[in-house]
């Protein structure tokens, strides 16, 4: 563990030095394995939030109430602690600047993490690929990477839209409420043909957004999704 950064009310970013890391593509994840003193182990998967160009790895962990691992990772860990890391893992939810745009990225909550890896990679490579981003957050205190995302703009081809579902910042004039068809229409592209969509968030959020994208004229083959958490049922 290199560094721990408080990212929001409920999330922390862990920066990890991983000797021998073979490199990753933006959007991939890693497996983290913790070992207790008596040898008990627990493994979890986390999206990599850092760009492939960064010399260390970053993951952002949102605390899951009643969880086994996330309360430890968000409250206990300190620089110098050691874990086992395996990866990179995952092949379909990835993007490289060499592939160009247009991209439509839609994030719910901490689902922004793998999409942030894409945005950071885009910036690191100086790419001008058309990338439109729609982020849904409960409120400003829950929004991840907000200052950094704001700092990415203005940039050729990049458009970021936030919507706040519970509390908007003071003086907010932008979108409010959960992602709906008009929001996706505004954030998306008129010519849908070449667009690749990446959607990440809690399962109900992703199910909802994917249904809207399909209804809005995007083909299933253009849409890549990552869901996390239980279904809520």
């Amino acid at each position: 563990m290199r560094e721990v950064v408080t990212e929001s009310r409920t999330a922390r970013t862990l920066a990890l030095d991983v000797p021998g890391w073979p490199g990753h593509r933006a959007g991939q994840h890693l497996d983290l394995r913790l070992t207790a003193e008596d040898g008990y182990q627990a493994q979890r998967s986390y999206s990599i939030a850092s760009a492939p160009e960064l010399e260390w790895l970053e993951i952002t962990v949102e605390v899951v109430e009643d969880g086994e691992v996330s309360p430890y990772l968000t409250a206990e860990v300190e620089p110098g602690d050691q874990f086992e890391v395996r990866g990179p893992v995952g092949g379909h939810f990835t993007w490289s600047a060499d592939e160009g745009g247009p991209l439509l990225l839609v994030a719910g909550g901490s689902g922004l993490a793998p999409l942030m890896a894409m945005l950071r990679h885009r910036a690191a490579r100086g790419s001008d690929a058309a990338v439109h981003v729609l982020v849904s957050a409960r409120g400003p205190e829950d929004a991840l990477y907000a200052a950094e995302v704001a700092g990415l703009e203005p940039a050729d081809g990049l458009e970021v839209t936030w919507t706040y579902t519970r509390t908007a910042p003071d003086g907010w004039t932008g979108a409010r409420g959960r992602v709906d068809a008009p929001m996706l229409e505004a954030a998306g592209f008129t010519d849908r043909a070449a667009v690749r969509c990446f959607v990440c968030g809690p399962t109900p959020f992703v199910e909802h957004v994917l249904d809207l994208l399909v209804a809005g004229g995007y083909a299933a083959s253009q849409i890549h999704a990552e869901r996390f958490g239980p279904t809520g049922t």
Partner: protein
């Protein structure tokens, strides 16, 4: 010896550890994992097919499929993303019933689904009372996000082998890696041998 994660105690599960494969944790939830949108095929346009290296392809409409003998199945399921869920209860048709009378040289199967998903496994893993096409979960019609109207259930392999939105099984002479198998996940996927990725 792996490094000790200072201050990590973990939560010992109260379930019999013999039921939980290495690296898995037990959850009461039923997480959803799919790579794309949830397909919604109307039942009057749904069919299930067995084709490939067979003399004549078999095909069932929804009504024909539902007329086949079903059995209740209670099994533990293990997802490669580390969660396991114990004592899940399903109802469906045994693959032994579907494959009854099928004469083939094939040793492999590609299961294929609405939405384009595929996954491969040895044909023998689908026989001997170890695999089903299920249409009910917990006594209710299987919800689309969990693979309804019908999904494959092969509980002795990691759960990505239990293809959601199943529409067909293609029997093949050669082994053909499916969607995740071509993307770095293990070709066989035995949770008890922790066969998660290519090098396991």
């Amino acid at each position: 010896m792996p490094p000790i994660s200072r201050g990590f105690h973990g939560r010992r599960s109260e379930v019999d550890p013999a039921r939980v494969p290495p690296g898995q944790y037990v959850t009461p939830d039923f997480p959803v994992l799919s790579a794309g949108p949830t397909p919604r095929t109307p039942l009057d346009r749904w069919s299930l097919q067995i084709d490939g290296a067979v003399d004549a392809a078999l095909r069932w409409s929804w009504a024909e499929f539902r007329a086949l003998p079903t059995e209740p199945v209670t099994v533990d399921i293990h997802c490669v993303t580390k969660w396991s869920k114990l004592d899940t209860s399903w109802s469906g048709v045994s693959l032994d019933t579907l494959l009854d009378g099928v004469d083939t040289e094939a040793e492999h199967v590609t299961a294929w689904s609405d939405g384009g998903y595929t996954t491969n496994m040895p044909l023998e893993d689908l026989t001997g009372g170890r695999a089903w096409v299920v249409h009910e979960y917990d006594g209710q019609p299987l919800e689309p996000e969990h693979g309804g109207p019908a999904r494959l259930l092969v509980p002795h392999l990691y759960f990505w082998k239990s293809a959601k939105w199943l529409r067909g099984l293609t029997l093949t002479i050669a082994d053909e890696p499916g969607f995740w198998e071509a993307a770095g996940y293990h070709n066989y996927g035995d949770p008890w041998r922790e066969q998660r990725y290519w090098n396991d």
